[in-house]
Amino acid sequence: MGKKYKSPPIIESVCEFRLPPDTKWDLTIPGLIFEKVKEQFPHREPRVFQEVEFKQGPQGVEQLTHSRERILFLTNDRNIFIQVGHRLFAINCLKPYPTWNRYKPKIEIAFKALTDTIEVKNLQRIGLRYINRIEIPEVSVKLDDYFEFRPFLGSRLPKDMKNFIVGCVLPFISMGAECNLQLTAAVPEKHGSHAFILDLDYFPVQSQIIPSFEALNWVEKAHTHIEEIFEGCITARLRKIFQEVK
């Protein structure tokens, strides 16, 4: 069991399932899924997402910008929602994060509704992602005091950074998975503060095929690894800001 915080920095968590191209999919599917989840996710609304697509056409590379609609099924407090797109199924959880014990059952309900509606043998991709916005209420912040994962500047380099982005991919060979870990500077909510985005994206490597009956176990293990990585990224001083609940 990971640590619990009174003010966790999570601004969004996403559990995403992508279905293989041979999965039967049509416009009635979102409605059928909604029927199965409407008690938990009673609000239904469309969202428009804009995408840029590059396409190799006869005249060379063409760039297209187009809008795609996804259907969202939201909980009463609108904090957790299911996104249903074309062969895309995601369960998002926004701030305030209600703990894994409350979020995971929502993932289970949603995934069951999906697999009860259409036949899903394997998943093309699963992803579990946690995006944290960390606000440090100090005018001057020394990253070493708060982060165990941070940019390193050698002794001959200036110590002041205006902006930064640092990332790495951590392999988890036994799971056939990787975690993309990234820390960037962000725009703080309050003046005189500093903000950072710590993004942990855990996903299977390309060759790893996840059978759908294994999906939820995979997600649980992924969550355990993400918790460990998150704790490994921060110092006791940052835990104090998050207010650990013992």
């Binding site: 804009q50 840029v52 991709r125």
Partner: protein, 195 residues
């Protein structure tokens, strides 16, 4: 294919993000159409570059090592917003209440990608120094809110309203069919402190 002509820092970051996204979403064999859908935080940058007319020169061969196919949009909402806010601040656009902008864009997600191009248009049209401030306007009488970009100058140019009209006209196309709304105007106040 021509080599990319983009040499700005944002283009470098785009390339970095393409590689990042590429590594994240390598899927199977390349499809016949070689369709790449490029996402996440990258989109605001691409829209900005498109508005400057440089996107056509983007070097897709850089993607080839990853056999990218059918990259779909990331399912999170917050990353694009955070990237946008970072870019706006780096362009000296002030955001007095970032929490309000974040909350608005979480609902009106298709507005995320037009803000940077609109700021680009404002920058092009303005021929005098001005402060650009992105805010959420809440109508106190009816339950309505929308984005507003205030242009503020220390000494107001006589032609400021004409310039604003021109900017609004040029931005109309970007706002077409969007779920939210954005107004570009001035309140004739002097530039505000962003502290």
């Amino acid at each position: 294919m021509p080599e990319t002509s983009i040499s700005t820092a944002s283009a470098k970051r785009s390339e970095y993000m393409i590689r990042e996204i590429g590594q994240k979403y390598i899927v199977g064999e390349p499809s016949e159409s070689h369709a790449y859908t490029v996402l996440n935080g990258l989109l605001p940058l691409l829209c900005e570059q498109k508005s400057k007319g440089v996107i056509g020169d983007f070097d897709l061969t850089k993607l080839a090592p990853y056999s990218l196919v059918d990259i779909d949009k990331s399912s999170d909402i917050t990353t694009e917003i955070e990237t946008l806010l970072n870019l706006l601040v780096s362009k000296r656009i002030i955001i007095p209440k970032p929490a309000e902008i974040r909350r608005y864009l979480m609902v009106y997600t298709d507005m995320i990608h037009i803000i940077l191009p609109i700021c680009g248009i404002i920058n092009e049209k303005l021929n005098a120094p001005a402060q650009v401030s992105l805010e959420v306007y809440k109508d106190p009488e009816i339950k309505d809110e929308h984005l507003v970009i205030y242009m503020r100058q220390a000494v107001y140019d006589d032609k400021i309203m004409n310039i604003i009209d021109e900017i609004n006209e040029e931005c109309d196309g970007l706002l077409h069919n969007k779920s939210g709304w954005l107004i570009i105007t001035t309140d004739f106040k002097p530039p505000q402190s962003d502290k």
